[in-house]
Symmetry: C2
Subunit: 129 residues, 2 copies
Amino acid sequence: MPFRFLYTGIRVKNMDESLRFYTEVLGMIAVEPLEEVGPTKGKVVTLKSPGSEQLLELNAYDEASRFCAPYENGEDLDHLAFEVEDLPGTVDRLRRMGLEVTVEPYSIDGWGEACVKDPNGIWIELLEK
Amino acid sequence: MPFRFLYTGIRVKNMDESLRFYTEVLGMIAVEPLEEVGPTKGKVVTLKSPGSEQLLELNAYDEASRFCAPYENGEDLDHLAFEVEDLPGTVDRLRRMGLEVTVEPYSIDGWGEACVKDPNGIWIELLEK
């Protein structure tokens, strides 16, 4: 009875704002168009980065949805990891865009690493080989 | 300045327990062995399902780690999605193993769907085409 991991679904407070962040700032592309899902009273879109097969699903729920609990940041999602080419420059650029930098660039196991927060408070880990 | 999505990292309370769940129950395999990471005072392992390229990283932090905030379940991680072949039988088996079933099997957009909780309270979505 096999299980096959398909994707990670994060919940976003505002679909327009998060879709802009993940596509315009982080450069992801929609692999399926945004759709409204009747049974969950939600909006959903699936994204990937050029050159990566990893899938990220964004979920927004109407207030009437049974899945629309108050939005709290938890510890269960540790981070979403993205590879970048110029870590210091990338962190500077994101900081100037108003993003909170939670971990300043440092070196770990041969990688450069830093963390910023997405519009929902989710930690985005930036890695440079 | 491209960003390339690499993987999703979840935080687990107990590495042994979660590694057993994701490998023995959900059948995932380690693509890199479990390692201890000095700078973060953490343990980390990266997993994938046979037949899928999606990567899931498990992170456990020592109490002395700066990343070891009290474990709270939030809304930012909506769910991790897994495809299965026999949804009702899978849900029954997981329930008998003691997992909480948060959404009983139902039909949505041509897929069968149900949700259970992992040992950390993370929602695992099960999908059957």
